[in-house]
């Protein structure tokens, strides 16, 4: 990157339209995001230090940091933080693992690969509401196919969406099913960048499937897996629809993540200010993870540069 710019620079002026050109190009998008994401988020932060109610959204008065202070010792809130972390960790780990394995399996030619690939990516395209409807039906206590299958195997029925011990696993299954194809597609794309000679060399050395994967493929995939992992993590922190429509945060609050509490406090209990404070803390969690990612990324880049 740096090299190519150095060789390019002396040849010709880079900005024929003057220094304002990039602002003209990016201006609309930047302004748009300020208006439809920046301003609302600032408004959310401002709401979080008030006692605003849903019935009178413009009528709250300032309460300082009371909402945040109330959250610090709030058991329900702390539990929602733990739930969010568990949910995020399991969906990220599950989708990265399954997505990578699927991509590796589907990368090599075999009869029927085209069809297998088509089916494997479909969950990504199915609208969340339809996903929720079918999983609610699969997990239905009395007539669902999950329990029918278990009974046929001689194992008793489970209350997938009604028993607190199965609420989280059920939500995880539905989520991982829906998001894994994204990981698979990106990894599949990254696999195209692994030079064919490396596979060849591994074959000559008599390396098996597993050692080829760990020594050749995985190092090539790591940068991709890191950025996909980051995206998956911050997306799970804010994922709302699939959890809300499947369980509404239940049974007994076991799937109530931070964003579910935000929505419940705002629209269920009408406490907009309090809800906003929860949302802001959730956002800080995402920011912290992003920060950690960029620190790790800069370190690896520096290490690679030293090694090279």
């Amino acid at each position: 990157m740096a090299v190519s710019q150095a060789t390019r620079a002396p040849r010709r002026p880079r900005r024929p339209r003057g220094p304002l050109a990039p602002y003209a190009f990016a201006g609309a998008a930047a302004l748009y995001l300020v208006l439809f994401a920046g301003v609302p988020i600032l408004k959310g932060v401002q709401l979080s230090v008030t006692d605003t109610q849903l019935i009178n959204p413009n009528g709250g008065s300032s309460v300082g940091l009371d909402n945040y202070a109330a959250l610090v010792g709030d058991e329900v809130f702390l539990r929602s933080v733990v739930t969010t972390i568990v949910y995020a960790f399991c969906t990220v780990a599950g989708s990265l693992l399954l997505g990578t394995v699927s991509a590796v399996v589907l990368n090599r030619a075999f009869p029927g690969r085209f069809l297998a690939r088509a089916v494997a990516v479909m969950p990504w395209a199915v609208p969340t509401v339809a996903v929720v409807m079918v999983f609610r039906w699969i997990f239905n206590n009395d007539n669902g196919v999950a329990n029918a299958g278990l009974s046929a195997l001689g194992i008793g029925a489970r209350g997938w969406l009604t028993d607190p011990s199965y609420g989280m696993p059920s939500v995880l299954v539905a989520t991982v099913w829906k998001v894994t194809p994204f990981v698979m597609l990106v990894v599949l794309a990254a696999l195209q960048a692994v030079p064919e000679e490396l596979y060849e060399a591994a074959r000559v050395d008599g390396a098996g499937m597993y050692s080829t994967f760990t020594t050749i493929v995985l190092p090539h995939l790591m940068p991709t897996l890191r950025i996909v992992g980051l995206l998956m993590t911050i997306w799970s922190f804010r994922r709302f629809e699939i959890i809300w429509l499947l369980t509404g945060g239940g049974p007994a609050g076991v799937t109530s993540t931070i964003v579910i509490s935000v929505y419940e406090q705002a629209f269920g209990n009408s406490r907009l200010g309090f809800a906003a404070a929860i949302g802001v803390l959730g956002l800080l969690l995402s920011l912290a993870v992003t920060l950690v990612y960029f620190v790790i990324e800069t370190r690896t880049e520096r290490k690679n540069r030293v090694a090279a």
Binding site: R8, R12, R17, P19, P22, F25, A28, A29, F36, G38, P40, I41, K43, G44, L47, S102, F110, A116, A118, V119, A120, V121, P123, W124, A125, V126, P127, T128, V129, A130, V131, V132, V134, W137, I138, A148, W177, T180, P181, L185, V186, A189, Q192, G206, M209, P223, T224, R238, F240, E241, L245, I258, V259, V262, Y263, A266, L272, A275, G279, V280
Partner: protein, 278 residues
């Protein structure tokens, strides 16, 4: 060696089969449920292989619920609107981020990325009051504007990565010939990044097509509901037979799945442009 290779093929085939079953079953179950009679569904009589002669029931919601078609139309409007506004702004922004160095570029890149962290559940309240004051509640274009805030940054990243892969030297000659930056973008860059444009378009389209929270909060007029809102209103509603509801889920999912499959090759190559660059 040969034995090991064969073993590899066996394991691969087994894994691929398992993958197809896991990924495909819930989709198949939507179809299966839609064509199984409702009395059978509620008595635990649903079979793994349904009565195929009832395939016509896949479309039963079109007969029983006339508002469904209107919801689908609304979803289409929102999805297309989101795609067009996102791609227009994203193409221009990606060109700036890819080709220029300018003050504020780092902040802009971070800002675009940061949108992916913003929880809709937190944004929905301030956006609601913003839209209320602008008179944009119950308007489909209001949904387009809200969805674009999430779809456009993703499109920008995909397009920027694709543009980064195009050698700058190609544009220089055009520039010497007196072409402006905008016409270079139009004539040279856009055709070269067509696969990535397609990938970004599909992703933006799905954002609009699938979105539920904004659609449900901002649109209260039933005639302007999107299919997400309309179908979600059936959840837990026992007045509408389950097979009909699943006919709706099927018809809602099919356009997205087909559209995706048609574009699949371009999506993979569009994403490749991004990941190769790393």
């Amino acid at each position: 060696m040969i034995a090991r290779r064969n073993l590899g093929v066996g394991v691969r085939t087994l894994l691929a089969t398992l993958l197809v079953i896991l990924a495909g079953f819930p989709l198949y179950w939507i179809l299966n449920t839609a064509i199984t009679p409702k009395d059978t569904l509620y008595t635990g009589g649903q079979r793994l292989i349904p009565d195929v002669s009832r395939a016509g029931h896949l479309f039963s919601i079109l007969v029983t619920d006339r508002s469904f078609l209107r919801w689908i139309t609304n979803s289409t409007v929102v999805a297309l609107g989101t795609t067009v506004t996102s791609l227009l702004m994203a193409t221009l922004a990606a060109y700036a981020l890819s080709r220029y160095r300018f003050f504020g570029k780092g902040i802009m890149g971070f800002g675009f990325f940061a949108t992916q962290m913003l929880p809709e559940a937190l944004l929905v309240v301030p956006l609601y009051s913003l839209f209320a004051s602008l008179g944009m509640l119950n308007q489909l274009y209001g949904l387009v504007l809200a969805n674009t805030a999430f779809a456009m940054p993703v499109a920008t990243f995909i397009l920027k990565a694709a543009m980064d892969a195009i050698p700058y030297e190609m544009e220089e000659s055009a520039r010497v010939d007196g072409c402006g930056a905008l016409s270079i973008l139009q004539i040279m860059v856009v055709p070269l990044i067509a696969p990535s444009m397609a990938a970004a378009a599909v992703i933006a389209f799905f954002d609009g097509w699938n979105e539920y929270l904004f659609a449900t909060t901002f649109i209260t007029d039933e005639r302007k509901w999107t299919a997400s809102t309309g179908l979600a209103s059936f959840i837990g509603d026992f007045l509408i037979p389950l097979d009909t509801v699943f006919s709706g889920a099927f018809l809602f999912a099919v356009p997205a799945v087909v559209f995706f499959l048609v574009m699949q090759r371009r999506i993979v190559s569009g994403l490749t442009a991004g990941s190769v660059k790393g």
